[in-house]
């Protein structure tokens, strides 16, 4: 979800991890007889999105605690889910998004957190401490958040974009025919079209979804491609001039090209939160708590935010960040737009409505 690299870079550490976790199981098994939890072996298996951590984070953690982190990467929530669906293969910390936390909770895939071991959650902004998908943060601690919006090339677009109409309304999109890319993500694209039509992003009303589908089918001739998480590259290389993308991805290319900018359309969009969680059956829960606490240490967190350029829920860290981060529209969407935004929720068995609409759009 976060970057193109996220999806396609070979996962170099996979084999090393398998060996590591096999050894880990053996050692912790042998060690558990005499020692207590706190004497957990100095290992931690983290499973995170690619390009989603600071450059020095893991090294600093190792230097402070002596814990060796085995760091694995995934590209989207579904990959994470598929990996853990039939049982935890040995991960201690995972970073699912909001709706995925909800699904994982329904399937008992997450361990309750002991807040006394994560004192740094006091740094969190109050707006994030009681999320709808996990009331009271009992199983999850917000890590980073962001939005879906439009990244575009200012010099190639008539005036600043403010509405989804420019990419969803056939008559308006015609002006940019062949220069627009959508995300290749069914819930994201249909969800934004639903927002544009004034419906909820998580609707299970078949006729509303059908209207969004028909709108997208009508606009499709003007769309160049459904970007496989590489919309920011298409924008940067001049392949398209407008792309629907995740906020932080556009923030990254804005660093490289001043002509690019990002907007969350006024009708509202998706606001998502990724969360640090401990999956059921984690071999090192103690170290995992330690790591989650470490990530929200103000200095550590600032370094992460400064590297990945997603919005932080850590208020104390944000307050100390430079204006180019805190005032960046591609990192923090303006409040008046944000209030129209919605989190994606799990739609359970209604997923099929979205799936079929998406197939119809792509096959038309």
């Amino acid at each position: 979800m976060k970057t193109m690299r996220g999806r396609f870079l070979p996962r170099i550490s996979r084999r090393a991890f398998m060996q590591g976790s096999a050894a880990a199981v053996g050692i912790s098994f042998a060690g558990s007889a005499g020692r207590s939890w706190s004497a957990e072996e100095k290992r931690l298996n983290v499973y995170n999105w690619d390009t989603y951590i600071g450059e020095t984070t893991l090294g600093t953690f190792n230097a402070r605690t002596g814990i060796v982190v085995q760091y694995d990467l995934y590209a989207d929530n579904e990959e994470l889910f598929a990996k853990l669906k039939e049982g935890n293969p040995g991960y201690d910390v995972i970073v699912p998004s909001d709706y995925m936390v909800e699904d994982m909770l329904a399937l008992n895939m997450l361990t309750p957190l002991d807040h006394s071991k994560i004192p740094n959650i006091r740094h969190l902004d109050g707006a994030f401490t009681n999320p709808a998908y996990d009331p009271g943060m009992k199983h999850s601690v917000p890590y980073m958040w962001g939005t879906i919006g439009l990244g575009y090339r200012k010099s190639k677009v008539d005036g600043p974009l403010v509405s989804w109409a420019d990419v969803f309304e056939p008559e308006r999109a015609k002006r940019y025919s062949g220069r627009i890319a959508y995300l290749g993500d069914m819930r994201a694209v249909l969800g934004c079209a639903l927002k544009y039509l004034g419906y909820g992003m998580n609707t299970t009303n078949a006729s509303e979804i059908a209207k969004a589908r028909d709108l997208l089918i009508a606009t499709k001739p003007h769309i160049k491609t459904f970007a496989e998480d590489n919309g920011q590259d298409l924008l940067l290389s001049g392949e398209v001039d407008i792309t629907m993308e995740w906020s932080g991805d556009i923030a990254a290319v804005m660093e490289e090209d001043d002509d690019l900018t990002y907007v969350v359309p006024q009708e509202g969009s998706n606001v998502w939160v990724d969360n640090l969680c401990i999956p059921t059956g984690a071999p090192h829960p103690e170290n995992a708590h330690n790591f989650i606490n470490f990530v929200h240490d103000v200095d550590v967190h600032m370094e992460i935010a400064n590297t990945i350029y997603f919005a932080t829920p850590n208020k104390d860290a944000k307050d100390r960040m430079p204006a180019e981060y805190t005032e960046n529209p591609a990192v923090f969407a303006p409040q008046e737009v944000l209030k129209n935004c919605e989190a994606l929720l799990s739609v359970g068995e209604h997923t099929r409505l979205y799936d079929e609409a998406w197939t119809a759009i792509q096959a038309s």
Partner: protein
């Protein structure tokens, strides 16, 4: 040489590991997927085992059949292009002086040493609006314009308009042909290599022209190689989802993409399994008919 039928022990020793491998990693997973295809999707995307034909009913809805037909069509076009491009290459290698054969074969196989993803991404860099191909064309255009200007016709060709080469079905076919070409060249080369050249000489000696010899003698003789190569390319192209994902436009959805989505974002493994088996049933039926025809033929031959 002793017939293997007479030495069953040794035969079993050699066949054992391979059969075990096939059973463990091919037959059992396949049966599992088949069982899934009658299952049901739970609200969180769990796979519940059941005996429901719902997934198959969904799979034969017009929209899904349409996607399958389109995949077959794209697969067929890619196979045809592969044949046209690959046949001369295979012939060239087979008829080349023997010291050239190995280096030439190496060139054909060489791309396999690079990851498929990297190679597909490379095509993006070649085909995109500001890609290498368009840069090349622009250069030619510029020089031509300069020549026209020298001849007294300034700006005769006008502004260069880059070609839209990426994100359409052509790009998908180009990608599929590129990826699968070696799968056609290699079996075809193997057949051509074994071919008895005297047939061709006889044909030419007896007055048939080059074309006549090619189509009436060579092609029928290497038909087994053509069929196996084409079948490989067709099956691999039809089921590919990476190439349409990366090079395709908004209408490049193929059956492989749909199955990948059902196993991924839609979390509907039962439906994904049913879709997979919708492709496999015709193949099974084909093999059964093939076996029956073969048996019928041998019986008839025995009777004669």
């Amino acid at each position: 040489m002793e017939d293997w039928r007479k030495n069953k022990g040794a035969f079993a020793i050699f066949l054992g590991p391979a059969s075990f491998w096939l059973l463990l990693f091919f037959v059992i997973p396949l049966i599992l997927v088949w069982v899934y295809s009658f299952g049901e999707r739970g609200p969180q995307g769990q796979t519940y085992l059941a005996l429901s034909f719902e997934n198959y009913l969904r799979a034969i809805e017009p929209i899904h059949l349409g996607i399958m037909l389109k995949s077959i069509w794209i697969g067929a076009i890619s196979t045809a292009v592969c044949l046209v491009v690959g046949f001369p290459v295979a012939m060239g290698i087979a008829f080349a002086p023997s010291r050239w054969k190995n280096p030439l074969l190496l060139i054909v196989v060489l791309p396999f040493f690079t990851n498929l993803l990297i190679r597909t991404y490379a095509w993006i860099a070649v085909l995109r609006t500001r890609g290498f191909l368009n840069f090349g064309l622009e250069w030619v255009h510029e020089k031509a314009n300069w020549l026209f200007a020298l001849a007294g016709f300034p700006a005769a060709l006008g502004e260069f308009v880059p070609l839209e080469l990426l994100y359409n079905q052509y790009a998908v076919v180009i990608g599929l042909v590129y990826v699968h070409l070696p799968f056609l060249i290699l079996p075809l080369y193997a057949t051509l290599e074994k071919l008895d050249r005297s047939y061709l000489e006889a044909s030419l000696d007896l007055g048939a022209g080059q074309w006549r010899t090619f189509f009436s003698v060579l092609v029928p003789l290497v038909m087994p190689g053509i069929v196996s190569g084409a079948l490989l390319v067709f099956i691999l192209s039809m089921g590919n989802f990476l190439v349409p994902d990366l090079l395709g436009g908004t209408d490049s959805l193929m059956i492989g993409n749909l199955i990948a989505r059902e196993y991924g974002a839609a979390r509907d493994w039962p439906f994904g399994s049913a879709l997979s088996f919708m492709i496999m049933y015709p193949v099974f039926i084909f093999f059964v008919i093939n076996a029956m025809v073969a048996r019928y033929r041998t019986r008839r031959r025995a009777e004669v």
